[in-house]
């Protein structure tokens, strides 16, 4: 994640998990960047990323997606993976971040 800070990009992870659950995850995995909770999937819905009923308990969750925004909030790069297991690699994102000013 330091690589992102070095290029001036702030990573922010969002899911329906509660802050408590996320704290646990971050402690175990050693993540130090910002993690936000969207328990009712409201923001997830606004971004059209709802994966209905796909949660372990049948709740609505987010489908995986990454958006690189510039400082004005405009989307500059999007990754909507077709396969849940295949995610964007940090190198791809860092490459896209080079075009940000």
């Amino acid at each position: 994640m330091d690589k992102f800070h070095q290029v001036g990009v702030r990573p922010v992870a969002i899911s329906v998990d509660s802050p408590e659950v996320t704290r646990d995850l971050c402690e175990k995995a050693g993540y130090t960047f910002t993690f936000l909770s969207d328990p009712k999937a409201e923001t997830i819905r606004r971004y059209d990323l709802v994966h209905a009923g796909a949660g372990i308990n049948g709740q609505d969750i987010a489908r995986p997606a990454e958006f690189l925004l510039d400082a004005s909030g405009t989307v500059r790069w999007v990754n909507l993976t077709e396969n849940y297991w295949v995610r964007a690699r940090p190198e791809q994102i860092l490459e896209a971040a080079k075009s940000l000013r």
Binding site: H5, V7, V9, P19, F35, H51, A62, A65, D70, I93
Partner: protein, 150 residues
């Protein structure tokens, strides 16, 4: 004492390990996650063991109790089912993702939001875009939406 047909058991156990190790072990590294070749390799070895084991149980000319033939066939069949389910879930089910046509596209403004962070503090997208990183203004924000773990 009846000899245990270890290849058949090893093959079955390895099939189960090949299945379970994907989400719990190999999914951690993109090299083994993007295409599950390591797991398919384990399934391949398991298949070899099962073939050896099933052949042993059915060798003509030796009297094997019927039970061992049934056991061997059953374990082999179960292993094939495990492999089938693995292929189905990693190649087919994994693509059952919503189309998300309405998601913000390149050039569009990302919708603003205010959510709670791990310190139970409310944070807005505008704040994330503007609060300094290491004393400098951020050049951008990377939003990573993920499924969550619970």
């Amino acid at each position: 004492m009846r000899k245990i047909n270890w290849p058949v058991w090893a093959g079955f156990l390895l099939s189960v390990i090949a299945f379970v190790s994907y989400p719990f072990v190999f999914a951690r590294w993109s090299m083994t996650r993007d295409f599950p070749w390591a797991n398919l390799l384990l399934f391949g070895i398991a298949a070899l063991l099962l073939v050896i084991g099933v052949r042993r149980a059915f060798v003509p000319g030796q009297t094997h109790p019927k039970r061992s033939k049934i056991a061997a066939s059953l374990l082999a069949t179960l292993s094939v089912i495990v492999l089938g389910f693995f292929i189905f879930s990693t190649f087919i089910m994994a693509r059952w993702l919503p189309a998300s046509h309405g998601a913000p596209q390149v050039g569009q403004k990302a919708p603003d939001f205010t959510l709670t962070d791990t310190k139970d503090k409310s944070v807005s997208l505008s704040e994330l875009r503007s609060s300094p990183i290491n004393g400098q203004n951020p050049k951008g924000v990377l939003l990573i939406f993920y499924r969550g773990y619970w």
